[in-house]
Symmetry: C2
Subunit: 159 residues, 2 copies
Amino acid sequence: MKVLGIDPGFDRLGAAIVERVHGRDTVSFSTCLLSERGTPLPDRLAALGTQLEAVLEREAPTHVAIETLFFNKNVKTALDVAQARGLILYLGRRFGCSIHEYSPQAVKVAVTGHGQSDKTAVIAMVRRLAVGVPSDGLDDEYDAIAVGITCLAHEARGR
Amino acid sequence: MKVLGIDPGFDRLGAAIVERVHGRDTVSFSTCLLSERGTPLPDRLAALGTQLEAVLEREAPTHVAIETLFFNKNVKTALDVAQARGLILYLGRRFGCSIHEYSPQAVKVAVTGHGQSDKTAVIAMVRRLAVGVPSDGLDDEYDAIAVGITCLAHEARGR
């Protein structure tokens, strides 16, 4: 199994390919896709979707892992992230991937063992758990790796 | 100009092609795309997106017209509609359409002259304003035609 972990967003979209190689979680690719600030949302979604299609085509993942939506205080941001997430789910299915959704808490539990860990603790554990984690990634990239690791932990038990 | 009017949804998605032919707003195609209830959202989005791609390919609209998101009381529904809307905006741009967004009130004003008109009044005026309106459509189909008419009224003045 080859997991594409995604941290959804319309401004920055984290994407990481995580696989188990010789028994170790291995990041073979990770990036943070960007869209241009100040441009209309449809254009930003088109830019992100085109880049994501290129990743799906080149990397041919079998699974897409993504956090469930949580509703934060900013309605506008939540709705815009939801719109980005819709096209991610759509493209994942179009490229034949199974889709796996995890709550933010489930990701923290899978990576750190605790549901209340902060961002720093998650990133520190991501580095210890997986090979190939970039040293200078953006938060979105580490979040994408973390949800990819979560998917491997849930789906690849005993493999 | 050839407008694809869309009433976004993950359960039912209204779609209508509206053009001005010999000075009259004309509906050359309208439908309500459906997804299967009880199936996971990614599968529903994939089903709707595939059908919508077929419409975009066959009808080759130049404009996509869609209502702005409004936040209703049901958070879950609003977020799911937002996810469907994201893939619609994405596909519209991918097929080279310009995207035009109108508030529900702007649509009512364009179709009935009043921002507070109810659904029945909107449907009645849609029938009077446009040629080729189906007699037995679903609400979503009439909403798609209404937003298409709104786009023609805004973008095709004087043509």
